[in-house]
């Protein structure tokens, strides 16, 4: 018997093509639905240094907070719910917890608290939940999803007390937690932050100038003259600094730039890492549109936004898991005339992107 090695791990790729000027474009909802963004990468062709307004935009992403060893029941604290959760959008994610090994917690802006638990923890916690959609033969992962704005989850309500008792006495969960609030910022979170060891962080911006980069031609042509897989592979290789020369003496990488290709004398790769809010990304997209309105040598910009690999939720609060890699990201290729190509990609253990 021979083993079928042609079978590659399943991934989902949704491609969308539209224009920002079209009234029914879904770009805003697609960006807003990915709540937890880890990294934004920009590729600016024929550009030596970051344009000033883009630079100031990138450096003004909202700050976020890291709380060390936060007991998870504190997210049910009455004052925290009233000042932060009910008032605006709180984005919270457990930090340094692995989705396929540990317990992961996410607090979404619509007030949903999502816990991804292994079997033993779920049975100890004693709260209603369901088995993960991505269980194979045995159910070893369970998801508890609670809407904190529901009537039974009002402080003092039955569901609230059950979850609070579970998290306080039966399964006392503690983990490092990333927290951000829009639009209030840190002020709304002060009550929670003041009780624990916390630190404020600014998203880290790094810039890298590239020279002699081979690049596919006519990226924004309609219909596109290359398939999304090879374009995304090339873009990923540029982002990860992998050579696309495919020279015969190097065995490290056989990735190559899709044909037909051209040579760019220079390009700029900018990345921002941290807990990034969808609202900041939407403002960045608007800035890039203004940048493309000016006369350019090259008429496109590629923006890639990566979601957290270990987040229990991805687009629209739907369950996210990791089989061998928990990728969930989207690439927005923006052209002149306000047209765009959008590619949304998830891994095997994920639901279809919107």
């Amino acid at each position: 018997m021979s083993v079928d090695l042609d079978h590659t791990p399943r991934c989902l790729l949704v491609s969308d093509r539209s224009s920002f000027l079209h009234e029914k474009n879904r770009i805003n909802s697609q960006v807003e639905q990915l709540n937890f963004n880890y990294k934004v990468s920009l590729l600016l062709p024929e550009c030596g240094s970051t344009p000033s307004h883009l630079d100031s935009m990138l450096n003004n992403f909202s700050t976020f907070y890291l709380i060390r060893k936060l007991p998870i029941y504190e997210l049910l604290d009455k004052r925290f719910l009233e000042t932060a959760v009910y008032q605006g959008c709180v984005y919270g994610l457990s930090y340094r917890t692995r989705i396929d090994e540990d317990i992961c917690v996410a607090l979404m802006p619509n007030g949903h608290l999502c816990l991804s638990l292994d079997k033993d923890s779920f049975q100890v916690l004693g709260v209603e939940g369901k088995a993960s959609r991505f269980s194979h033969r045995t159910k070893s992962r369970y998801v508890v999803s609670v809407d904190m704005t529901e009537s039974s989850m009002v402080p003092g309500g039955r569901g609230y007390l059950r979850l609070l008792t579970g998290l306080k006495s039966r399964l006392p969960l503690k983990s490092d937690f990333l927290l951000s609030h829009h639009p209030g910022g840190g002020a709304s979170l002060q009550a929670l932050l003041s009780r624990y060891d916390w630190s404020e962080h600014k998203p880290e911006v790094s810039t890298h100038a590239l020279t002699c980069l081979s690049c596919p031609t006519q990226l924004t042509s309609i219909p596109p003259n290359f398939d999304p897989h090879s374009f995304l592979e090339w873009l990923g290789a540029v982002d990860a600094d992998i050579s696309c020369e495919n020279s015969s003496c190097s065995f490290l990488s056989s990735l190559a730039c899709p044909e037909p290709k051209t040579m760019l004398s220079q390009a700029l790769r900018v990345s921002v890492c941290g807990l990034l809010l969808p609202q900041d990304i939407l403002r960045l997209i608007q800035e890039i549109r203004c940048y493309l309105d000016q006369p350019q040598l090259q008429s496109w910009v590629a923006l890639t936004v990566h979601g957290f690999v270990d987040s229990p939720v991805s687009w629209g609060g739907r369950e996210h898991g990791a089989l061998r890699g928990g990728e969930n990201f989207y690439t927005l290729l923006m052209g002149e005339d306000h047209t765009y190509h959008l590619h949304l990609v998830t891994g095997a253990h994920d639901t279809c992107p919107p």
Binding site: M1, V3, T97, D100, E101, D102, H136, R137, S140, R324
Partner: protein, 262 residues
């Protein structure tokens, strides 16, 4: 999914090497088993768990059987080990191990082409009892001939068991022979496992082995003996099945010796 585990590390007398091996296993977030070749019959194994939780060390004994007298059921020496494994070398012993022996793991030999084929009946019988089959991969890293044998034997096994109840472990003697859990998952594809089965082979199935070992040691989870630090030993006891009546007496006689150890 549960934590990643590697249920097979070779124990060596070299303490420094052993510590390096266990630290590497901890960094690769997998539990490792340690195996000591004291004789061809007894091996010693211990187990580590990943870095996100405190490291857990367990003991395992692997009995390499070329004759049915090599494995003595209910032998008292086996009590001090958390996991019990056998490596049968003939078809008759394999059948007996699958259907009768009170063990947790059946090791598939990787150092030779198996002299027998796996039949569905004993494989299914073992699966029904909760006994798992283990394929070790470090021999494949060391030597190209052993690589062929490992892959051939593993593929034969997968044909019979359909990827159920299989664990992948290293049997590593040195730190360099350890691989990370995602690499081992990829290796499982070469052995004929599907994506989901390969991932389960390094986490969920290993967890079920540990639970099976606990029930085996505690007469189906009824009797627990715990090492106590005071004279009033905490010991839960309940009448077991009539055939396990002997184990009740044994656990009670253990108590005075535990107290005298303190």
């Amino acid at each position: 999914m549960s934590v990643f585990m590697d249920l097979n590390l070779i124990y060596t007398g070299d303490r420094t090497g052993l510590r390096t091996l266990l630290e590497t296993a901890a960094h690769r977030e997998s539990s490792a088993d340690d195996e000591e070749i004291v004789s061809s019959v007894c091996k010693h194994l211990c187990l580590y768990q990943g870095r996100s939780r405190p490291i857990r060390v367990l003991n395992r004994l692997t009995v390499v059987m070329s004759d049915s007298s090599h494995f003595r059921p209910n032998a008292t020496e086996y009590r001090s080990f958390d996991l019990l494994a056998v490596q049968p070398t003939t078809e008759k012993l394999f059948h007996a191990a699958c259907m009768l022996y009170d063990v947790d793991i059946i090791c598939i030999s990787v150092s030779e082409k198996l002299p027998f084929f796996f039949k569905r009946a004993p494989v299914n019988g073992a699966a029904d009892r909760g006994v798992v089959f283990e394929v070790s991969y470090s021999a494949a890293i060391r030597d190209s001939t052993l690589r062929r044998y490992t892959i051939a034997n593993a593929i034969n096994l997968m044909e019979s068991c359909k990827g159920r109840n299989v664990i992948l472990s290293s049997a590593a003697e040195k730190a360099l022979e350890l691989r990370g859990p995602y690499d081992v998952t990829n290796l499982g594809l070469l052995f004929g496992l599907s994506d989901g089965d390969a991932k389960e082979a390094v986490c969920s199935t290993c967890r079920s082995v540990l639970l099976h070992a606990e029930t085996r040691k505690t007469a189906s989870g009824i009797i627990y003996t715990m090492r106590s630090c005071s004279d009033s030993a905490g010991q839960e006891g309940a009448p077991g099945d009539p055939e396990h009546g002997g184990s009740i007496i044994d656990s009670q006689t253990i108590k005075p010796s535990l107290a005298s150890d303190d």
